[in-house]
Symmetry: C2
Subunit: 161 residues, 2 copies
Amino acid sequence: MDPNKIFGTRKTIEQVEEGRELAPKFDAHGLIPAVTTDFESGELLMHGYMNAEALALTISTGEAHYFSRSRQAIWHKGATSGLVQTVRELKIDDDQDCVWLRVDVHGGASCHVGYRSCFYRTVPVGAAVIGEQPLPLEFTEHEKVFDPEIVYPGVANPTKL
Amino acid sequence: MDPNKIFGTRKTIEQVEEGRELAPKFDAHGLIPAVTTDFESGELLMHGYMNAEALALTISTGEAHYFSRSRQAIWHKGATSGLVQTVRELKIDDDQDCVWLRVDVHGGASCHVGYRSCFYRTVPVGAAVIGEQPLPLEFTEHEKVFDPEIVYPGVANPTKL
């Protein structure tokens, strides 16, 4: 599926916001953010980026493809770990500069650290937090679904400081 | 709440991923993406950005504050429209470069176009889509919650081509 053909040209704000034509906006690096939630639970699993090719591959195959900024390469989620994400629904936002993937996850985890979701810690909010600095995080997942050293042998951790 | 005090220093990957200290990563523009979902329904409402001040304000007030890239200013969501987002839960991801807000929305809408969610259109996925170019979008919301011309009188549309 050729990205140049399946994506329309952005001509007017009305066309982009109210139209029925896919015309995504990629940023200065050629990327669009992708928000991925679990189809059944609604839980936010991860936040990644796609380039035009990754978005076209996601649409044509029905499996989530991202663009790895750390590796600067197309990233078929699950190719290494087996934790493939099947896209049940794909949505795009008002100005078409963000996509939302609602997925089923094979293997039950989406986070390279081993947790089900990348969002396994809460930040305190409101008056109760005054005093502690830096702010403390609280874990909401207490057990990893998998061991990253077994699932990703010899693969560098993508997290950057 | 001073961002310099409530955010920790990023020292090691283990500290960032497995630690109990808030140490968010802001990008080259000083921003962190923020994913906002409806606390009750789990629906993705919007995807925005925060700078350090907006994140600190969100934490201290319990109401979502973003950074408007088009206006280059702090944006207290709902200050103009009344559609304030009360944060019920705030989470951060593995490498602490994205936050997730689970909110209650006063007024029932979060999209400047007038829809409940910014994600009111689906993109077709899989074999069924082959043929139509550019790809067609399908609306999943059919009525606006509000009229933007009444709620945002004289305010420029933030959407950029």
